[in-house]
Symmetry: C2
Subunit: 344 residues, 2 copies
DNA sequence: TTGTAGGCGTTATCAC
DNA sequence: GTGATAACGCCTACAA
């Protein structure tokens, strides 16, 4: 079926357009557009007339056409390493909450911890003409960085307080947090401290945490035994493996700092199964304050990160740039806390 | 600065357009468009010429303009009750994985368990001209349902195998799963079984689970003591509260079925703290197989749901409809498993 | 296989 | 305060 008006239109889908609303209200399309986007600039009478025409026709504003014409977009893109990992969930919620307040939409994709995939996703988001980007990872391909630079859209990185940001950063220092925890463990009297993280390849968060551990050990005048440093995949089972492996290869190990995921919880469970007393035989510390760490027995010493706040501030920062309320890139350090519990 | 070609254009933003690529390659815009969208329909020579022109200019395809012009969209919208809840994470990952394979984008928003907010989000997504919708909730406002119907886009609901879907459903039956677990507990010899869920208001999942429990109890010829049925908020602490409250009000209670969130884990921890042996003093069962339930002591009996698969199938179903590979709404029951462990 | 013409639905701009 | 007109960047349809 063709349109009712006299143009030999081509495709099927009808769909009410502004034109239809305008006709029904007996005004021009521009008046409808204004009544919708900037009600203040239209007379009381018009506003009401347009409003009821909109309701009668069931008109739904076409943001695609709007974006194309106005050359601005109300969509923000977010790329996380994984959607499964609930650690990101808090941050995503923070971002989503702020965007919702300003009527922006959120497009999400996961890079599967792959730089190449992130590169591709950046391209896809730019093709969607997102108004800005939030990236969790702080390592990127040269090409991705270049695309973003050319696109001239604001970007916030939030996985690590990197010192060479693409644009703005809202995060905490993985290096400092890790160093602080290692020092904390030493102060508690632990002599031989193991360190377990996720793979450090292409992952600035993990590598910074390891650097922090090493820096603390060196500052304490302790040798850094390579057998004490492990890289593991994520998950409870991996944490269990790690603690067993460490105790096997370095029997005098008396504490392990798990700087990733829920590894520490897996380790606590495994120690319990094997009858290794925590913290007497071995102290266990974690990174990131998942609710659970407070509830297991023994409760686990960890680092509390302002995940939700990082999301909020990232989004706020982005919207400030998008809306022109600010025009300089910033670096926000939201810090962390050491939470001492029963496991150390 | 105005454009280089002779039209008194208005806005600032430069940005390479197809026209620029076409000029550089010495071909028409349509050839560029075809080379990009359907490389097969263009000669080898052209393809390469266009390809290098694209690279030289750093051109990024404008999907907004593409969608507007072609009247199709490659964005799918997803609305979940909450982004924080890691239960949805698996499903989101499944959806994302499938969409990525077909070069679709995912727009996500959370309704905060509010029907009114969901209604608003549906409108916002329709305004973005999403090609399809995935809704976790199976209750909607009349208005939202009406908007979706008018938009004529495919929808998949996946939080419950509802019998009155808007369009397609890919899920499991909360009613059957809950009934099965309750029956399972009775078969194990438990006499007085308590039931705890999240608020059932506007939440078909929770209310169906409660219906399943009641149906099982009645089928077993047992009276349903209202003091045995609780509604709780989510979180570990809420589970702890619930078990204490149940034992307080009905001392003979010998099992509790927690049909929501991580409530059961909170209860297990609380029992441990109070010295109530699980499963001897009280049996505890959960809904949804979070990794953790297998690792706590005692490990917790639960229902395993195909969360990831639900995501995948939801997205596949949607894409089939969007691409025209299928044109009828379907109902897919992905089932569940009872996982018997130490806590019962 | 390639090109030309016109429109997708909206907003910026300028005239009234 | 309101309206006419010309883009926004691309694709469908049809012609060559």
């Amino acid at each position: 079926m063709a349109r009712s008006d006299a143009n030999g239109s081509r495709r099927g889908a009808p769909g009410t357009r502004m034109r239809d609303v305008a006709r029904k209200a007996g005004v021009s399309v521009m008046t409808v557009s204004r009544a919708l986007n900037d009600p203040e600039r239209v007379s009381e009478k018009m506003r009401r007339r347009v409003q009821s025409a909109v309701e009668e026709t069931g008109y739904v504003h076409n943001r695609l056409a709007r974006s194309l014409s106005s050359q601005r977009s109300d969509v923000v893109g977010l790329i996380v390493p994984s959607l499964r990992n609930s650690l990101f969930a808090e941050t995503i919620q923070g971002i989503s909450d702020v965007l919702a307040e300003e009527d922006f939409q959120l497009m999400i994709a996961d890079s599967g911890h792959s730089l190449a995939d992130e590169d591709e996703l950046v391209g896809a988001f730019l093709a969607q003409r997102v108004a800005g980007l939030v990236l969790h990872n702080t390592s990127h391909t040269r090409h991705a960085a270049e695309m973003i630079r050319k696109a001239k859209i604001p970007v916030v990185e939030n996985g690590n307080l990197t010192d060479k940001p693409l644009d703005s950063v809202v995060s905490y220092s993985n290096f400092e947090a890790s160093r602080a925890m290692t020092t904390h463990l030493a102060r508690l009297g632990y002599k031989t401290i193991g360190f377990v993280s996720l793979s450090v390849e292409d992952n600035e968060r993990a590598s910074e945490r390891r650097r922090g551990y090493v820096a603390a050990m060196e500052a304490l005048g302790r040798s850094v035994d390579p057998r004490l440093i492990l890289e593991q995949s994520s998950g409870l089972a991996a944490g269990a493996d790690a603690v067993v492996q460490l105790v096997g290869s370095v029997p005098e190990v008396d504490a392990v700092f798990f700087a990733g995921d829920v590894l520490a919880i897996g380790a606590v469970f495994e120690c319990h199964r094997r009858g290794w007393s925590v913290p007497k035989r071995i102290g266990i510390a974690s990174f990131d304050d998942v609710d659970l760490l407070r509830h297991v027995d023994p409760s686990v010493t960890t680092i509390r990160l302002p995940r939700y706040e990082i999301g909020r501030r990232s989004a706020e920062c982005l919207l400030d740039r998008i809306s022109g309320r600010s025009d300089k890139s910033i670096s926000v350090n939201l810090g962390f806390d050491i939470v001492q519990r029963e496991s150390t």
